[in-house]
Symmetry: C2
Amino acid sequence: MQQPVTDAPEDEPQTGDADAVLRELLGYHIKRAQSAIQADLNAALKPLDLRMLTFSALAVVASSPGLRQAQLADALSIERPNLVVILDELERRGLILRDRVPTDRRAYALKATLEGRRLFEAAQAAVRAHEAALFTGISPEDQVRLREMMQRIWRAGEGARE
Amino acid sequence: MQQPVTDAPEDEPQTGDADAVLRELLGYHIKRAQSAIQADLNAALKPLDLRMLTFSALAVVASSPGLRQAQLADALSIERPNLVVILDELERRGLILRDRVPTDRRAYALKATLEGRRLFEAAQAAVRAHEAALFTGISPEDQVRLREMMQRIWRAGEGARE
DNA sequence: TATTGTTATACTCTATAACTATA
DNA sequence: TATAGTTATAGAGTATAACAATA
């Protein structure tokens, strides 16, 4: 069962094989897939003038009204300062409101406007279509396995960070 | 078998549930896992003064000597201009060389120095340890499945980009 | 004293146009 | 003309320190 490995000389590496060292790493494949997902998601959100981050923020605010910015930043796994510009943009576009919390005048209670909720609904449909398209090749059972594996990796990373 | 779902009132969302909308998306879990992987990988490479990108570039150059910059950029899936600073850094540190190609004086043939190959070996060991640590919770068979799924997603993204 | 949101800042990664020197 | 590497530049995401207002 001898396989003719390749015709090319060893010292002239083929372009398509140059990433062979990297392809041995699981993280390489996960990164490539994640890049593809992000690109496709942003393309799907572009007609709505949203990006992954602005969509995520709008989605969380729309479905969990009353959150404070610190809580939202936590839910999005981003730092508080980085959330400010995102909310500035969503607020400027009339998609969310920063309501003062009466009991704690330092904080804002975030909520989506009617327009924000409508845009969220449209965006969610676009995102679901995007996921359906990108994950067609993966059976529902495998998608469940995949989600579990991703959660395990994330938890392992959490553990390593302490 | 009734489960007491939660004690909290509905209109005061719990912090831990704020990302419920996002957790329905497979892409959300993949992104979180990828972030964890990148953070852990960079932490593993930090003692060697490498990052994911500089490691990847060094790895490809070390194992495929003679590549041109355009080919390397292609292997790394980055744009040619963005590769320049990375190679500048690796060259300045004496890890790689840019050798003129005699037959095409526009191009450089990239190769790792002895020191570059040594650092690559050390880095590869660190990266393997990092992957072993992060992926302990995933059986070898599942890791194979995972890789296949990532490749499928990436190809679906490629198809969507045309 | 501690916390909320904010400003300022910096670093990394990414993407595009335009230049130079060669081909 | 076209290509290889480069420069300049801009956008997006991420991270930290420090501030004013409030608790």
